[in-house]
C-alpha cells in the first residue's frame, strides 16, 4: 500500500480527477450538459468516404460500426483531455492551434478584385512610376584641402561658371573619383554614389544653371542639372504584376494583423513582473549547457 502511494501514476490520476471535478464545478456543472455525443448521418458518411478513399471499396456494416465506435472513443478522450486542460500546457497542441487560427486569416483574404487593384494602384502610383532621369555635372570642393578658404573658393568658382559658358567646371574643383558628370541617372543611382543628401538636393535643383554648394558624403559640390526627364506616366497595364503582388502581400499581412487585433481585444491582459527579475532568469539560462 505504501508502495502504491508512492506511485506517480496514482498521483497523476488523483490530480486528474481533482481537476476534472473542479472543471465541472467551474463550468457550470450539470446545467452545461456537455456529456452528449451525437454521431450524425453526415459524420457517418464522412467516415465511410474516408474508408472508401483509402481502401478503394465501401466498408462492410461491421467495419462501419468499428469506425463509428473508434470515432466515439476519439471524441470521448478528446473531450476528457480538454476538460482536464491537457491542451493548455502542451506546446505541440498550442502551436498547432495557433497555426490553424492564423490560417483562418489567410483563407479569409480572397482573390484581389479588379476594383481593389485599381484602388491600390491609384493610392501607390509613386511606387510604380518610372523615376525621373537626370543629366548633370558637378565640381567637387574638398573641405580638407581648402580649409578656411572653402566658402570663398566655392563662391569664386560659382561666379566664374556663371560668367562664361565654356569652362571645364571639374577643373575648377578638386580632383576626385566621383564622376564629374552623369547622364540618364535616377536619384537612387545618385544616392548610391554621392549619398542621400546630395541626391535629394539634385531632385529639387533648377535646370540649366550652376548652383550650390551642395553637400555630399565627401564634401561640397557645385552642380548643374543639364536636363531632367520626368518618368513617363505609368499605366496599370505596364506594372500590373507588381501591383497585384504588393496588394496581395499587404492584404495577407493586414488580414493576419487585424484578426489578431480583433481577437486580442476580447481579452483583458495583465502582465506581471517576473518574480526573480529578468537578470536572474538570464543568469539561470546561461548555466544550462
Amino acid at each position: 500500500m505504501r508502495r502504491l502511494l508512492k506511485e506517480p501514476l496514482l498521483h497523476f490520476a488523483v490530480l486528474g480527477i481533482g481537476l476534472f471535478v473542479l472543471y465541472r464545478a467551474v463550468s457550470g456543472g450539470a446545467g452545461a450538459a456537455p456529456d452528449e455525443i451525437v454521431v450524425d448521418s453526415a459524420r457517418v458518411d464522412t467516415l465511410a468516404t474516408q474508408f472508401a478513399r483509402t481502401r478503394q471499396r465501401v466498408p462492410t456494416e461491421q467495419e462501419l460500426q468499428g469506425l463509428v465506435e473508434s470515432y466515439v472513443r476519439d471524441e470521448v478522450l478528446y473531450r476528457e483531455g480538454l476538460a482536464l486542460g491537457l491542451d493548455r500546457d502542451d506546446p505541440v497542441v498550442r502551436n498547432r492551434m495557433r497555426l490553424r487560427v492564423e490560417l483562418l486569416a489567410d483563407t479569409a483574404s480572397p482573390e484581389v478584385s479588379e476594383r481593389a487593384v485599381h484602388a491600390w494602384f491609384d493610392e501607390h502610383r509613386d511606387r510604380y512610376a518610372a523615376p525621373a532621369l537626370f543629366d548633370f555635372r558637378q565640381a567637387f570642393f574638398s573641405p580638407a584641402s581648402h580649409g578656411e578658404r572653402l566658402d570663398a573658393d566655392i563662391g569664386e568658382a560659382l561666379r566664374t561658371l556663371g560668367a562664361a559658358a565654356h569652362v571645364d567646371a571639374a577643373a575648377l574643383g578638386d580632383a576626385s573619383l566621383l564622376p564629374p558628370s552623369l547622364r540618364g541617372v535616377t536619384t537612387a543611382d545618385v544616392a548610391a554614389q554621392f549619398g542621400d543628401e546630395f541626391a535629394a538636393a539634385l531632385g529639387a535643383a533648377p535646370t540649366g544653371r550652376w548652383f550650390g554648394p551642395v553637400r555630399s558624403a565627401y564634401g561640397l559640390h557645385l552642380v548643374r542639372v543639364d536636363a531632367r526627364e520626368e518618368g513617363e506616366a505609368v499605366t496599370l497595364a505596364a506594372v500590373r504584376d507588381a501591383v497585384e503582388r504588393d496588394l496581395r502581400d499587404a492584404r495577407a499581412r493586414a488580414a493576419s494583423d487585424a484578426l489578431y487585433a480583433r481577437l486580442r481585444a476580447r481579452y483583458s491582459i495583465r502582465i506581471e513582473k517576473p518574480a526573480r527579475g529578468l537578470e536572474d532568469a538570464a543568469a539561470l539560462a546561461a548555466q544550462v549547457p
Partner: protein, 643 residues
C-alpha cells in the same frame, strides 16, 4: 536625352573616344578582346554613348530562408518572398519578432536554399502527418515547438552531415512536396525580379558535406522561370544526387544542354573543408586531380565566395606569415560541424591565395588552371535577411538575431573534438560587388562569368583594378579611371599574356570610400607567382595610402593608420584615412617567364565591430578575447599574367 534603363548611366566628361556595347561573350578578357569592345578610334560624334559600368552593383549571392531545412529548424520563418522584399529595402518583421530594415537597398539577391530537403522544414513545422509518423520527425517537431529549435537544428544538421537522416524525412527531387518547394522558389524570384531596378536571381545551394567537410556550392541561373523550371535542383543524397563536385558539373552541363540556358557555381567556406576545397589530391579518389577535373572546374566555377559570416578565407596567417593583415575573421578550428579538428597541413588547400598559387602549378602540369576564380563576398545568413552591416547585423541564424545573449552564447560545441565556436566569432560579412552595366539577370550574370567582381566584408567601397603594360603615372590624374582603364588594359578578372620586351605589368588602381562608410587606409596589390624551379611565391605590396606615412626603411612596412574607435561608445570618426585612393603601380619584381596573378586588397580605417555595437546597445559585457574592432576590406578578382 534618350531614355534607357535607369542604371545605364553614362559618364560624359573626357569623351575622347567612343565605346560601343561591351561584348556579351563571357570569355577571357584579354587586351585584344577589350580593345575590340572599347575601340580607341573616336567616332565622329563625341557624344556617342560609352557603355561600360559606371558603378558597382552590390548584392548577396547566398541567402537562406525558412525553406532551408537547417534555417527553418533554427527558427527562421521568413520566406524567399520576404527575403527579396527585405533586400529591396522594405521593412520586414524578423523571425525573432523585431522589425528589420537595411540602411540602403541592395541591387540584387540570390535566394540559395539547400537543395537537399528543400521545403522539408516548413512541412515539419506545420506538422505534416507523413513527417510526424516517423519517430525522429515527431521528436524534432516536439523539440521545435517545445522551444528547443536550436537543439533540433543542430541534431538535424549533424544527422544530415553524417548521412543519418531517416529515410522518411528525406525530401528528394521527383516528389510532389519537393517540386512545389522548388516552384515556389522560382515564383518568388520571378515576382520580385524587376530589370533595371532590382534583380532577383533563381538559385540554390548544393550542400556537399560528407563527414562534415564543407564542399558547398551555390548554383546561380542566368535564366528565367521558363528554363529553370524544366529541372529540379541537384542534391547530394544518393541515388539521385552525389557529394562529388564532378557530378554537379555534369548536372550543370546537362541543364545547359537540355534548356540552352546558363548556370555557374560559386563555392564557399574552404576554411571548413579540412583541406578539400582546392585540392591537388582529390578527396574522393585519393589520386591527383586530372585533366578533366581541372578543365571542368575552370569552366563551371569562375567565382569563389571568399568572405561570409562563417569566416574570411583570403589568406591564413600561418600560410602568409609576413602579411600583417592576413589574420582577419579566421575560422580554423575544424570542419563545418566541428567533428574533425584542423591540422596545419590542411590549410594550404582551403584559402583563396594558396588556391591561386597551386592553380599556377596545376596549369603548368595539366595545361589548365582549375583555380582561376574571381572573388565575391556574401552572407550565408540563414535568416532571410541579408543584413551584415556592423551596426545593423542580424546574425547568421535566427537565434543570433540581435539579443543581449548573442555576445556570450555558444554557436558550435563539439565535446568530442574540443571544437568550440562562440557567437561573437561570427562575422558581419560580406557582399558581392559586380561591375555590370545593367541591373538585370543577364548583365550581372555575364559580369560574374567574366569575373569582373570583388568581395567586400560588408562595406560598399568602390574599387577599380585595371592591368596592362602601358599605364603611366599620369593616368592616375584621370578624373574617370574607367575610361583610361578599359581603354589601355583589362579589368579585374582579366588576363595579360606575353609581356612586350622590356615591359612589366602596370596597374591602375583606385578606390572611393562607401558614401556612408569609413575612410580608406591603403590599397595593396597581392602578387603570387611560379618560378622555373617549380617554387611558388607571394608578396603583398602597399601601393597607395592615406596621409604622408613613410614605409619603414628596414622592414619596408607602412606604419599603421591608427584608430579613432571609441569601443565603449561604438563610434569612430573619419579624421584619419583618405576618402579616395588612386595610383599607377608597376610590378618591380617582374619575371616575364613566371606565370603570376595580381589582386587588389583595399583596407578601411578601423571601425567598431558588431560586437561593440551590441555591447553598447544591450549593455552586456563581452567575453574575454572578443574582437571589438575591425578593418573592413575589399578583395578584387585577380588579373592573371600568363607568359
Amino acid at each position: 536625352m534618350k531614355r534607357r534603363l535607369p542604371l545605364r548611366s553614362i559618364a560624359v566628361v573626357l569623351v575622347t573616344f567612343a565605346v560601343p556595347a561591351l561584348a556579351q561573350d563571357a570569355g577571357e578578357a584579354t587586351p585584344d578582346k577589350v580593345a575590340h569592345a572599347f575601340p580607341t578610334k573616336p567616332a565622329y560624334s563625341p557624344y556617342v554613348d560609352r557603355e561600360f559600368p559606371t558603378r558597382p552593383l552590390f548584392g548577396d549571392t547566398h541567402l537562406h530562408t525558412a525553406a532551408s531545412f537547417d534555417a527553418g529548424a533554427f527558427g527562421a520563418r521568413l520566406t524567399p518572398r520576404d527575403a527579396y522584399r527585405f533586400a529591396r529595402g522594405e521593412q520586414v518583421m524578423a523571425s525573432s519578432g523585431q522589425p528589420a530594415k537595411l540602411s540602403r537597398p541592395l541591387d540584387f539577391l540570390v535566394v540559395a536554399d539547400h537543395s537537399d530537403n528543400m521545403g522539408f522544414f516548413p512541412d515539419l513545422f506545420a506538422g505534416k502527418t507523413e513527417l510526424l509518423a516517423d519517430p525522429t520527425g515527431r521528436r524534432w517537431y516536439d523539440m521545435i515547438h517545445g522551444g528547443k529549435g536550436n537543439e533540433a537544428a543542430i541534431e538535424i544538421i549533424v544527422a544530415f552531415s553524417q548521412g543519418k537522416l531517416p529515410k522518411a524525412l528525406i525530401y528528394s527531387p521527383g516528389t510532389r512536396p519537393y517540386h512545389s518547394a522548388w516552384q515556389e522558389t522560382i515564383a518568388a524570384a520571378e515576382a520580385y525580379n524587376e530589370p533595371g531596378r532590382f534583380t532577383a536571381f533563381i538559385g540554390y545551394e548544393w550542400t556537399s558535406n560528407t563527414g562534415g567537410n564543407n564542399l558547398h556550392r551555390n548554383v546561380i541561373f542566368r535564366d528565367n522561370a521558363d528554363k529553370a523550371s524544366q529541372v529540379e535542383p541537384y542534391t547530394t543524397m544518393k541515388p539521385l544526387g552525389s557529394d562529388n563536385p564532378r557530378d554537379l558539373w555534369k548536372w550543370m552541363a546537362d541543364y545547359e544542354q537540355k534548356t540552352g540556358g546558363d548556370v555557374l557555381a560559386i563555392a564557399h567556406n574552404g576554411n571548413l573543408s579540412n583541406g578539400r576545397m582546392f585540392p591537388i589530391i582529390e578527396s574522393f579518389t585519393g589520386k591527383r586531380v586530372d585533366k578533366p577535373y581541372v578543365e571542368q572546374r575552370a569552366h563551371w566555377e569562375r567565382l569563389y565566395e571568399v568572405t561570409q559570416t562563417k569566416g574570411t578565407g583570403e589568406a591564413h596567417p600561418s600560410l602568409s606569415p609576413t602579411d600583417e593583415f592576413a589574420n582577419f575573421e579566421i575560422w580554423d578550428k575544424g570542419n563545418l560541424d566541428g567533428s574533425v579538428a584542423k591540422k596545419p597541413e590542411m590549410l594550404e588547400f582551403e584559402y583563396a591565395r594558396s588556391g591561386f598559387k597551386n592553380g599556377l602549378l596545376l596549369e603548368r602540369q595539366l595545361g589548365t588552371n582549375p583555380y582561376k576564380f574571381g572573388l565575391v563576398g556574401s552572407t550565408d545568413a540563414h535568416t532571410g535577411l541579408a543584413a551584415i552591416e556592423e551596426e545593423n547585423f542580424f546574425g547568421k541564424t535566427t537565434p543570433q538575431e540581435p539579443s543581449p545573449e548573442r555576445l556570450t552564447a555558444t554557436f558550435v560545441n563539439n565535446a568530442g573534438t574540443g571544437v568550440k565556436i562562440m557567437d561573437w566569432e561570427v562575422g558581419a560579412s560580406g557582399y558581392a560587388a559586380v561591375w555590370a552595366k545593367d541591373n538585370t539577370r543577364t548583365s550581372l550574370w555575364d559580369a560574374m562569368e567574366r569575373r569582373e567582381t570583388y568581395a567586400t566584408t560588408g562595406t560598399r567601397v568602390v574599387v577599380r583594378f585595371f592591368g596592362g603594360f602601358d599605364f603611366v603615372a599620369a593616368d592616375a590624374q584621370s578624373r574617370n579611371p574607367a575610361v583610361v582603364g578599359y581603354g589601355k588594359g583589362v579589368p579585374m578578372g582579366g588576363d595579360l599574356r606575353t609581356a612586350p620586351a622590356g615591359k612589366a605589368p602596370t596597374f591602375l588602381v583606385a578606390a572611393l570610400r562607401d558614401p556612408v562608410g569609413a575612410n580608406l587606409d591603403r590599397y595593396q596589390v597581392v602578387k603570387g607567382w611560379l618560378t622555373k624551379d617549380g617554387q611558388l611565391h607571394e608578396k603583398v605590396y602597399d601601393v597607395v595610402w592615406s596621409g604622408d606615412r613613410k614605409p619603414d626603411p628596414g622592414t619596408g612596412k607602412l606604419p599603421s593608420v591608427g584608430s579613432t574607435v571609441d569601443v565603449a561608445n561604438a563610434t569612430w570618426t573619419n579624421t584619419i584615412g583618405a576618402p579616395e585612393l588612386i595610383a599607377v603601380w608597376t610590378d618591380p619584381d617582374f619575371d616575364a617567364s613566371a606565370p603570376a596573378f595580381y589582386y587588389g586588397r583595399v583596407l578601411e580605417i578601423p571601425t567598431p565591430r558588431w560586437t561593440a555595437y551590441d555591447q553598447k546597445r544591450f549593455g552586456v559585457q563581452p567575453l574575454p578575447g572578443t574582437r571589438m574592432t575591425l578593418e573592413e576590406r575589399a578583395y578584387t578578382s585577380p588579373i592573371w599574367y600568363t607568359p
